[in-house]
């Protein structure tokens, strides 16, 4: 499984490096979301500062939709989905590979957004260990859930509009827990963030397990 996962992740990341969709479209979109919030709440910079955790994770969530859409868009044209099925790759390996590629892109994006909230919202990123732990756990959950629902949506004609409807309600716990854990870290009260980190960990474990177990079936039947 891990050999196949490395093969798929390497392929997806190489395509992203060449096409630069992540750097030229997804990252600018995420920064644009931060900017729009700044425009909307500009009269009171204190609100922006206080709302930093929530706005950060909303931007990550929206961007993750684009990343997942793009991940399955690679196989949407010219019979790519059939090629993937016929490739002989282990389905769990395909899932782990695709989710890993999405996760790495999201982590890079979060670095950009972290700089963005410091510059635009005047945020002070205290408690870096908890912030990073939150990002890692939330990213695993987002990438895994996005990949599970991404393969379902990719097999349908209405995939572009269906994916947000499927994913956004499901990842609401990530938005909530990520925001609360970041709030605790930024407030200098890391202990308050532990329950939310545990929720993120449970979410990640559940969706990684579901993906490994069900991805093959979803790839075949949708």
């Amino acid at each position: 499984m891990f050999r196949d996962a490395a093969l798929v992740a390497g392929k997806d990341l190489r395509i992203e490096l060449r096409s630069r969709v992540a750097t030229n479209q997804v990252a600018p979109f995420a920064v644009l979301v931060l900017l729009l919030f700044a425009f909307a709440l500009d009269p009171d910079r204190g609100v922006l500062n206080r709302a930093t955790p929530g706005l950060f994770w909303v931007a990550v969530l929206f961007s993750s939709l684009l990343a997942v859409q793009r991940s399955f868009g690679l196989e949407a044209a010219d019979g790519g989905r059939d090629t993937l099925r016929l490739s002989g790759l282990d389905a769990a390996g395909i899932f782990v590979g695709k989710a890993t590629a999405v996760a790495l892109q999201l982590l890079a994006l979060q670095v950009v957004l972290g700089v963005g909230v410091v510059v635009l919202y005047d945020a002070h990123l205290t408690g870096p260990a908890q912030l990073v732990a939150t990002c890692l756990l939330a990213t695993i959950g987002l990438a895994a859930a996005g990949t599970v629902y991404g393969v379902v949506a990719a097999g349908l004609r209405v995939r572009e509009t269906l994916l947000p409807l499927l994913v956004l309600p499901v990842v609401a716990p990530v938005l909530l827990a990520g925001t609360k854990a970041w709030e605790a870290a930024l407030a200098g009260a890391p202990a308050d963030g532990w329950p939310w980190l545990r929720l993120l960990a449970v979410f990640a474990v559940v969706y990684v397990t579901v993906g490994v177990a069900a991805f093959g079936l979803l790839l075949e039947e949708t």
Binding site: D4, R14, I15, D78, R85, S87, G88, L89, E220
Partner: protein, 217 residues
């Protein structure tokens, strides 16, 4: 000797439409079977069913000893489908596409150069992004990927379409090589003169089932 393909009263539905309506087909190992028939006869569906892409919902279907009704994924590493679409990644080079395909099937990546040379895409073209290729060159790249995978069962759907004269000759040579090394070939084609030259048997499909069998050599 067990058949490479053994379908008995096999039924395949596309949505609710019966695309295969009780197909009985047996293909021996090493055989090259030409499936011909008008558009919409079910040739592509038959090939997709053999590849395990289209589920057989009634009857029986065995390919290379695997019961497709139990697990249609089991046969995937042993079959290669060369069809209307190429399944290539535009942003990867010709060599990278072929390497990915070979490695996915558990093959030896050293076979990339050999496969590319076989379809005359070695040299400068090997490092070109697939997006920059002509339609015929894309077809050759897909063929190189198939050669590199060395499947036991070759499924060729209108394989000569989109290839120039040299490409069609190359394809015929590749099919002949595959048969010579013991592979089984099932091809569907409207270019019956050319396809019949490499086939050892011909069957005709009409309305989702096989109409007649003619042994040509």
């Amino acid at each position: 000797m067990a058949s490479a393909v053994c379908f008995r009263s096999a039924v395949v539905l596309l949505d609710r439409f019966p695309a295969l309506t009780g197909v009985d087909l047996e293909v021996d190992p090493g055989e090259a079977l030409l499936v011909r028939g008008p558009n919409g006869a079910g040739k592509t569906t038959l090939l997709r069913a053999i590849a395990g892409l289209a589920p057989v919902v009634d009857g029986s279907a065995e390919v290379l000893g695997h019961d497709l009704r139990r697990d249609r994924r089991a046969v995937r590493r042993q079959v290669g489908l060369f069809g209307h679409v190429t399944g290539l990644y535009d942003d990867l080079t010709v060599a990278e596409n072929v390497r990915f395909s070979i490695r996915a099937a558990g093959g030896d990546p050293d076979g990339v150069a050999v496969a590319l040379a076989r379809v005359e895409l070695d040299g400068r073209l090997a490092s070109l992004a697939v997006a920059k290729l002509s339609a015929g060159q894309r077809r050759r790249t897909a063929l190189a990927a198939l050669i590199g995978r060395r499947p036991a069962l070759w499924l060729l759907d209108e394989p000569h379409a989109g290839l120039d004269a040299r490409g069609r000759d190359l394809l015929d040579e590749v099919i002949a090589d595959a048969i010579a090394t013991g592979a089984t070939v099932v091809l569907a084609s409207h270019d019956t003169d050319r396809a019949a030259a490499v086939a050892t048997r011909t069957v005709t499909m009409v309305g989702g089932s096989l109409e007649a069998r003619v042994r040509v050599s």
